[in-house]
Symmetry: C2
Amino acid sequence: MQELDERKTKILNAIIRNYLDTGEPVGSRTISKYSDLNLSSATIRNEMSDLEELGYILQPHTSAGRIPSDKGYRFYVDNLMKEKNQEVTEMKEFMIEHTERMEQVLKQMAKVLAANTNYTAMITAPSYHRNKVKFLQLSQVDDKQLLAVIVTEGNLVKNKMISTREALDNETLLKLNILLNTSLNGLSAEEINLGTIARLKEQAGIHSNIVSDVLDALAGVFQEDEELEVYTSGTTNILKYPELNDSQKASELLNAFEEKKQLVTLVNETLASQEQTGIQVYIGDESPIQNMKDCSLVTATYQLGEGMQGTIGIIGPKRMDYENVMDNLKTLKSQLDAVFHKNKEQ
Amino acid sequence: MQELDERKTKILNAIIRNYLDTGEPVGSRTISKYSDLNLSSATIRNEMSDLEELGYILQPHTSAGRIPSDKGYRFYVDNLMKEKNQEVTEMKEFMIEHTERMEQVLKQMAKVLAANTNYTAMITAPSYHRNKVKFLQLSQVDDKQLLAVIVTEGNLVKNKMISTREALDNETLLKLNILLNTSLNGLSAEEINLGTIARLKEQAGIHSNIVSDVLDALAGVFQEDEELEVYTSGTTNILKYPELNDSQKASELLNAFEEKKQLVTLVNETLASQEQTGIQVYIGDESPIQNMKDCSLVTATYQLGEGMQGTIGIIGPKRMDYENVMDNLKTLKSQLDAVFHKNKEQ
DNA sequence: GTTAGCACTCAATCCCAAGGAGTGCTAACA
DNA sequence: TGTTAGCACTCCTTGGGATTGAGTGCTAAC
């Protein structure tokens, strides 16, 4: 038993596609005329009535046309979309300039995505959770300040100033550096446990307080990366869609974009429910973010290996052009994978 | 000869204050009732008629009340505002947590400002143009990568990866480090000229290409800081003011906030026309940014000494609460000065 | 110089009628 | 039995008065 026979499916498809285009409720006559079914509007009406009863479409009010319900969109996304193989050329060009600065690349990407789709794009820096220490160095910067530089496997560099009571002599510094590197290199956040720490401090002797500071810095590095950076672009695009452009909704949404914290929730959600290569689609209430209940949300995860990954997302009206969006995301995702991979090889 | 006698001044003041509150055109009767002038509405009308002729107020349409013109606001800001000595307590608390990460502090500040004023706040990181190199270090991170760490006088740290064909031995690395530090320390971007560069390369011998890379990185550091970081907060606050909340204007404004480039223009403008300790007020068309012609803009510059300075700005409707805004800015400005100063002393 | 009074203007609001898009239902048809 | 034409009905939208009310300008009197 299947809920929808072929004709109903076709009609539903036609309704949704039409609605994606126009944003207006679509009536039986429109479908009757502009589909290849050759059915009268009356027949369509009967079918539509069924579809409504089944929950795939709904009427904003009696005597209006029908619009897709969340269930309808879901069916569309899962079953009706054609795989398009659009060429996304521009991105590559954007990508190629300046690969060196990750942050720039990500911002650029967000921009391209937003421009390509006319929706809002968000993208997170890869979280290097479970990342490992690769290189660590203390330098005497001036009388009272040490600079700790930490490089991780993914070639991400962090620095932290450490204030000291007085300057260390070169020899001590060298010893400390050797000690730190031999003890910590190759370790991830989880692997640096109390045992490691105790041993380190013991060996550091009177400079154990410096070791403490370095470890704090290290913790800071690993932790700071939990609260990840989120870049958004095209936030104002949502104002283009009348169904979102009332000051109440728009304001809530824009706030969500500004308060990146909420987006982080989203990211975590996405990462949790990932089907690896998959692209996630959240329609209306399905979204983990309350404010987005009138929107749809398409997310993808990109990989860097070693447990590092980031999230890309597009936020738009429910009647978004899912095909185009998913296509863009797919291409971008693969390109990001490639860029970071290349970067690592280098 | 002065253009406005005392009574006209009082009336203008009353009109503006009332309009700041309500956002509605204000009529003669209102002024007559709610001011201490004890004049009939008819008299007020006559005066208002004069004020209109003089260009301080205007009518949206015949038979509406009056609203302040840009000239009116300007007069208000220059002559009518009372110095308030509001206590801004919250800020200090916010400030005290986590002084270590400048970026965080600035974001926090922007947030506080936006929350305090209900307008949009922007704040730029201090530009360390004409900043000097204080410490410089090359480290071998792995087989084929050197890490250059650069610390400037202001304790701002930058790093850059440099790819090499093969690993350098320790001795060479040490030599290079000494060479770089002795040659470049204490120099600002302008002071590193062709002569310096030539001398450096000569002394580096076969490793002159590495010196090149380091210099490139250095240039990058100095240059990157030209395109400064701008943090905004409360961008959606503009939606609260009906006069800005039509989708056309709102969208333009929000775009300006998203495209931080435009804000940078603003910053430069502010820096250029600074009267050192001064607070700058741009009303309507006076603003250097076209999109903001329906807004007012209040900016302040904070100092770090050594030619480093940043900008704080508040963007809101023309009828913004200038007193409150300027007060907030003043307090914040002084606190920022203090924080960074303290940070440097440390 | 100030004020009361009055006629006038004009945006905003409400109401109502007309229009139209779309539906559901029924009856007829193939 | 599925399809279709026809018709009554619903209800949003549009547009045109009419009404209201805030506010003005002007005049004449105090």
